[in-house]
């Protein structure tokens, strides 16, 4: 994190000499009960179960062990590779559309001197709109007829109507555009917070060396934001790897599976199967996805801890 706090030594000393508040008896344990019950039943156990179910076949009545069959089945599904390709395509497009925009906006916004709060509120407003409403509203905007909202606007500048989500080529970029609109505000807030923690002395020093505004942006602001830029990058990749709502509501994965994503495929395996839910395949695929995401975050923390050491 770009925000650095200096650990104050005295506090930890005080804490060490603190009187023991609990005798470790039952009256203490009572406070753990809601945690244990709720997390146990709805978090810890399902996580373990997910690993177990990946190796099982179940129809809810009988359950049998099938070894790695679920994984073979999923990996041999041609739709999986389509879904992975689509998800990567979504992630790459989201990086191209959505990564530079919040950064530029935040750098500009941090120099606003009057009514800064109004700017911030405006930027965050799309994040507050419930995601389902946002997607359904954009779906309406994407109406492919010449009198659709976006096609009307394009008409003003002489661009012919676009098919948007109804064409294989334009469907995915349309989804990404809507997703970027919904998410950019959150990233802007993170950057704005990080920008306030850039030490002003660095700018002073750069000015003494004769740096202009552009050079200050490039040689002071950007390096200072390095860590937070990396965090938002990883968060975005982790988020886009699990994209579901947009393809589900905009296109249902169509046209011709052009917007089928990994999570949508998991959903289809488990809940949209006419032969009854294939829970084994669904958990096998989600386990693989989770391992990928875990590797991403481990790599990310290795890198950031190396940076903070140097």
């Amino acid at each position: 994190m770009a925000i650095q706090t200096t650990e104050s030594q005295p506090t930890s000393l005080v804490r060490r000499t603190r009187l023991k508040l609990s005798n470790g008896g039952f009256s203490t344990f009572i406070f753990f009960i809601p945690l244990i019950v709720i997390f146990g039943v709805f978090s810890w156990w399902p996580i373990i179960q997910s690993g177990i179910m990946s190796f099982q076949e179940t129809n809810l009545v009988t359950t049998s062990w099938v070894g790695f069959d679920n994984f073979y089945q999923v990996l041999n599904d041609p739709l999986l590779w389509k879904a992975i390709k689509n998800t990567i395509y979504f992630a790459v497009l989201a990086l191209i559309f959505g990564y530079p925009v919040p950064l530029i906006a935040a750098v500009l916004m941090s120099e606003v001197r009057r009514a800064k709060g109004f700017f911030t509120v405006l930027a965050y407003l799309p994040v507050v709109v419930p995601p389902v409403v946002a997607v359904l509203l954009w779906k309406f905007f994407y109406d492919a007829s010449p009198t659709g909202v976006f096609n009307t606007i394009l008409g003003w500048v002489g661009i012919p109507p676009q098919p948007w989500i109804q064409d294989q080529a334009t469907a995915m970029p349309s989804l990404v555009l809507a997703a970027t609109w919904a998410a950019a505000g959150g990233t802007i807030i993170i950057y704005l917070a990080a920008l306030t923690s850039v030490p002003p002395d660095l700018y002073d020093a750069a000015e003494v060396d004769g740096a202009g505004i552009w050079r200050k942006v490039w040689h002071v602001t950007m390096p200072q934001l390095r860590n937070v830029l990396f965090i938002t990058l990883i968060l975005q990749i982790i988020g886009t790897a699990q994209v579901f709502l947009e393809p589900f509501l905009f296109t249902g994965g169509g046209p011709a599976n052009a917007t089928l994503t990994v999570l949508l495929l998991i959903y289809r395996y488990a809940f949209q199967n006419s032969l009854g839910g294939d829970y084994g395949a669904a958990t096998a695929l989600s386990t693989m996805l989770a391992i990928f995401l875990a590797l991403m975050s481990i790599g990310y923390f290795k890198l950031t801890s190396r940076w903070s050491d140097s």
């Binding site: 925000i3 706090t5 804490r15 603190r18 508040l21 609990s22 470790g24 203490t28 344990f29 406070f31 753990f32 945690l35 244990i36 709720i38 997390f39 709805f42 978090s43 156990w45 996580i47 179960q49 997910s50 809810l60 500009l108 120099e111 001197r113 800064k116 911030t120 509120v121 405006l122 965050y124 507050v128 709109v129 995601p131 389902v132 409403v133 009198t147 659709g148 009307t152 609109w181 990233t187 807030i189 993170i190 704005l192 306030t196 002003p200 700018y203 000015e207 505004i213 002071v220 965090i231 968060l235 982790i238 699990q242 709502l245 999570l263 839910g277 669904a282 989770a290 923390f301 801890s305």
Partner: protein, 330 residues
């Protein structure tokens, strides 16, 4: 997974935020200068540069451009939705960007609320939000107190188990959690089509537990010690000291809990197949083809009112929490 290194990565932002909340409490009258809202002492552009006419002119252009872009992109679609909610279908379809060519149709809102009866889903959303909030608060405040203040010898085990779930993506939970709801332990009857199916899993939020545990852990220990000397037991410490002193963080977590319940889609879709029990987010997509477009857009607009109101009322709190949410979400 190495939770300890991950923890230290987020600790900085979090402690800063918690300190800020605590500081706010000690001086309630004087509003603190907020870096997200007010110009800070010195940014990228120095005061000498501000005095140059060329820089000033450019910054004015940049500001106007920025403001108009934000207005069009941030506010535009929401205003359009508001307009479409009171426009006849034919106008919206033929001339979507025109302003009321054939007058307004306030009846849309009435139809959406009473005839399509989204009032039912509206109330469901509120019940779901309140119930989820209550479960989350019960778990997070008791667990936060146990992990942050009482700290018995075994607390580290539970603390790391809670932290570990922060790094498990929710995808993994989808199928097993659904099966748990179908056949929950001890109860013996399926929770499908009951609000409990949404309320109970909402309580398993590691984010809330960690935030409240850190906040309670940062409360001055002398107060607890003094109360303990006077013979107060854990319950008194919790109810009369820890809870009242944690109001700021409980407020933050509450606002986010309510907003999250309003946003939730996939989980209620799975566990509440009965339309009479569904929240707005689940009901709206199925209305798209079923009802007239103007009434449908009115329903979308009605669904957006509460979150926007909550945002406007709690904007400072939400925006400060949002920077933190991003830092912790991974």
């Amino acid at each position: 997974m190495s939770t300890s290194t991950q923890q230290s990565g987020i600790e900085g932002a979090e402690d800063l935020f918690i300190e800020e909340l605590a500081a706010e409490k000690t001086r309630p009258k004087k509003r603190k200068k907020d870096t997200l809202f007010d110009a800070n002492q010195r940014g990228l552009i120095s005061s000498t540069e501000w005095k140059q006419p060329r820089v000033r002119r450019w910054m004015r252009v940049v500001n106007v451009f920025l403001l108009s872009t934000l207005l069009v992109v941030g506010l535009g679609p929401i205003l359009w939705l508001g307009k479409a909610a009171i426009t006849p279908t034919q106008d919206t379809l033929r001339t979507p960007m025109a302003l009321f060519p054939n007058g307004m149709d306030w009846y849309n809102l009435y139809q959406a609320w009473f005839e399509v009866d989204i009032s039912q889903q509206f109330m469901n959303t509120i019940y779901l939000a309140i119930g989820s909030w209550a479960v989350q608060m019960t778990v997070a405040t008791t667990a936060g107190f146990a992990l942050g203040v009482l700290k018995p010898r075994y607390y580290k085990v539970f603390y790391s188990l809670v932290l570990a779930t922060l790094f498990v993506p929710s995808v993994v939970l989808l199928v097993p959690l659904y099966l748990t709801i179908l056949n929950p332990p001890l109860i013996g009857t399926s929770l499908i089509n009951t609000f409990w199916a949404v309320w109970l899993p909402a309580g398993a939020s590691a984010f809330n537990v960690v935030l409240i545990a850190r906040f309670m852990g940062n409360l001055p220990g002398e107060i607890f010690e003094a109360a303990r000397m006077d013979g107060a037991g854990p319950f008194r410490l919790f109810w009369s000291i820890a809870l009242p002193m944690s109001k700021p963080i409980v407020g933050v977590v509450s606002v986010f809990a309510v907003l999250a319940a309003w946003k939730d889609f996939l989980w209620p879709l799975l566990v509440l197949p009965n339309p009479d029990l569904q929240p707005l987010s689940v009901r709206l997509p199925s209305l798209e083809q079923a009802i007239e477009k103007d009434v449908y857009l009115a329903a979308l607009a009605i669904s957006t009112v509460i979150p926007i109101l909550v945002f406007i009322v709690f904007q400072r709190l939400i925006l400060r929490g949002a920077g933190l949410g991003g830092a912790l979400k991974g």
